[in-house]
């Protein structure tokens, strides 16, 4: 028992440390002396190290790629995109999904029916398929409709991933709200004549926070994985771990580092968020599993 508990705690600490370090590095990368710029080619003694000439080592921690770019530097710089996209999509997912879920669970009736059908529909499309189609369609629509020049690929990815986050969050929040609605303290507040807005704000929302935080944490891991996957498929961002994997994977036999290190970055980051979610779910005793 204690061994397990210690192991779990160690996992939580590892996750927190990794995430703090990653965020720190990603944010301060431009000013760090040991991190090259993302588009700076590696030279040793004035000689360009292209064509995967350098493996992991002193001159380039994770080796170089075909053009001579530093894999380590790119992994650190590109972390910014993964984190930014993941966090933005999660925040939007929490706001929109939370609002839809509370509305459906609290007011029931036709609101609930519409929200439920929408959730069912979104969940019936495999998440990745939905994201691929959305991002690519947004590409075209952005060009065709006027006034959308400010929208970048990054926002398209955020929009697509938010939709993925909204559906499961809305479903869980709806279920919880339905249950909370019938609990004594909520019934008491309602029978005392509190307005719906007041009941939701003071009685329902505070009780939803643990679940939402927990689900969002694990969800963040899944969304970052999805961001990497979109980039891997060529539908996402070019400055992404997933893109590094796609660009180098056919040379796995010759230069494993160029593929494996971005893979590890993605893997460890996703696992860190999952570990965090796991810790939180134990802490708050949240049982819902998102699949």
């Amino acid at each position: 028992m204690t061994v397990l508990r210690r192991l779990r705690r160690a996992g939580g600490w590892f996750a927190a440390t990794w995430l703090v370090a990653l965020v720190g590095l990603a944010v301060t990368a431009p000013w760090l002396p040991f991190v090259r710029a993302a588009d700076e080619k590696v030279r040793v003694g004035g000689k360009l190290q292209s064509r995967y000439r350098l493996g992991p080592g002193r001159h380039a921690l994770f080796g170089v790629d075909n053009s001579g770019f530093d894999i380590f530097a790119r992994c650190i710089h590109y972390a910014r995109n993964s984190l930014l996209v993941g966090v933005s999509a999660t925040v939007i997912g929490l706001l929109v999904g939370g609002a839809l879920g509370v509305a459906a669970g609290y007011f029931r009736g036709w609101v609930d029916r519409i929200v439920s059908v929408v959730i069912d529909c979104i969940l019936s499309i495999p998440a990745l398929v939905l994201a691929i189609v959305l991002v690519s369609r947004l590409d075209d629509i952005r060009q065709e409709l006027p006034g959308l020049g400010w929208v970048t690929r990054r926002w398209q990815v955020v929009a697509a991933l938010s939709l993925l986050a909204v559906a499961p969050l809305a479903r869980i929040v709806r279920a919880q709200t339905l249950a909370l609605r019938e609990r004594e303290f909520v019934l008491a507040a309602r029978s005392l004549g509190a307005t719906s807005r007041r009941v939701i704000a003071t009685e329902i929302l505070p009780n939803l926070v643990p679940t939402m935080v927990t689900v969002a944490s694990t969800g963040l891991g899944l969304l970052i994985a999805a961001e990497g996957t979109l980039a891997f498929l060529g539908v996402g961002l070019g400055e992404s771990w997933g893109y590094l994997i796609e660009a180098n994977r056919r040379r796995l036999d010759k230069a494993w580092w160029a593929t494996v290190f971005p893979c590890l970055m993605l893997f460890v980051t996703v696992m860190a968020f999952n570990l965090l979610g796991d810790r939180l779910s134990r802490r708050f005793d949240v049982r819902e599993v998102i699949t």
């Binding site: 028992m1 397990l4 059908v117 069912d120 529909c121 969940l123 019936s124 499309i125 495999p126 998440a127 990745l128 398929v129 691929i132 189609v133 959305l134 690519s136 369609r137 075209d140 629509i141 065709e144 409709l145 891991g221 994985a225 990497g228 996957t229 891997f232 498929l233 060529g234 539908v235 997933g242 994997i245 994977r249 796995l252 036999d253 494993w256 593929t259 494996v260 893979c263 590890l264 993605l266 893997f267 996703v270 696992m271 999952n274 796991d278 599993v289 699949t291």
Partner: protein, 321 residues
């Protein structure tokens, strides 16, 4: 029977709403219907061809009419024209369907083969080191992104041990069985491991609860061997959660198939969809999405209806309803 019809109705609504939304999304923002037709046909097309396409797909009508004609086409396997491949979408997708279907079936089968024994043993030896090991394994299996898992498997099995080809080829079992197995093994594993993790988690939790129920204690008191108690009494009662988990995780499986087919260069619906998205092949993308949603809806219906096969009480309750 009434329940079945009700469920079919619900799933039909989902299918119609989703495919309609996809159609609108695909055809939105093209300017005019001739412009849309030009885009759907791709490349250099004559005015005459554009006119024909407008007439054939009713592009000058509103989306609802267009949808009804599309739906009619879907039912009769007339899925439109693939601009990137200059052939009918049905012809393009038919062989690719088998790759994806086989991959999916293999992944579910292998996933269950891994998950069921693991979950039964874990539940039986709860909190032992083997249970903890299983929990850690399924935690990692659940979280690992498909790309990462696929790359690692390629690295280990084809580049390090030279056992299987890293880059596959869609060879079917009826063509060359040995080559089929070699080519499909790593993609199957990449898909199966996350599935196995999900199945194991759900089944283990269900089995732990089942093993504490009175009828399991009674089976013990009857002097039944442990193996029989686990597999015959307890597992049978946890079967619902296996079937449910297969149904609910199907979306993840199909999403994974997109990645795996691309990663291992298999010609399936998933990899075709990515190619078509990148080449703006609207008819093909629409058909792929509709097809995938159709599979999800049908499998969920089958899962739902199979409950009554598993649990006689459900059968009874529905007979009364």
């Amino acid at each position: 029977m009434r329940y079945a019809l009700q469920r079919i109705g619900q799933l039909l609504v989902v299918f119609v709403v989703v495919t309609f939304a996809v159609l609108v999304a695909m055809r939105l923002g093209a300017g005019g219907h001739r412009e849309l037709a030009r885009r759907m046909l791709g490349g250099n097309v004559t005015d005459q061809q554009v006119d024909e396409a407008v007439r054939r797909y009713h592009l000058d009508s509103n989306y609802l009419v267009q949808y009804l004609y599309w739906l009619k086409g879907f039912v009769t396997f007339d899925l439109g024209y693939s601009s990137a491949n200059s052939m009918s979408v049905a012809k393009l997708l038919a062989p690719r369907f088998w790759t994806t279907a086989l991959l999916g079936i293999y992944a579910i089968a292998v996933g269950l083969l891994l998950a069921v024994p693991a979950a039964v043993i874990q539940a039986h030896r709860r909190d032992s080191w083997i249970d903890r090991l299983g929990n850690v394994a399924s935690f990692i299996g659940f979280g690992v992104p498909a790309i990462v898992l696929g790359i690692f498997l390629q690295l280990a099995f084809s580049l390090h041990w030279h056992l299987f080809p890293a880059i596959g080829d869609s060879i079917y079992p009826w063509q060359q069985f040995g080559a089929h197995v070699r080519n499909f093994l790593l993609p199957t594993l990449t898909l199966a491991i996350p599935q196995a993790a999900i199945y194991t988690r759900l089944l283990r939790a269900d089995m732990v609860a089942t093993l504490q129920r009175d009828f399991v204690v009674l089976a013990s008191a009857k002097g039944m061997p442990t193996r029989r108690i686990l597999w015959r009494h307890a597992l049978r009662n946890s079967l619902l959660s296996i079937v449910t988990s297969v149904g609910t995780s199907l979306g993840g499986l199909l999403g994974g198939a997109v990645v795996v087919e691309t990663l291992f260069d298999l010609d399936g619906i998933g990899s075709q969809m990515v190619i078509s998205v990148l080449s703006r092949d609207l008819f093909t993308v629409q058909a792929c999405v509709a097809f995938v949603v159709f599979i999800v809806v049908v499998v969920n219906l089958v899962v739902d209806l199979s409950y009554s096969l598993i649990d006689p009480r459900v059968r009874m309750a529905r007979a009364l309803a």
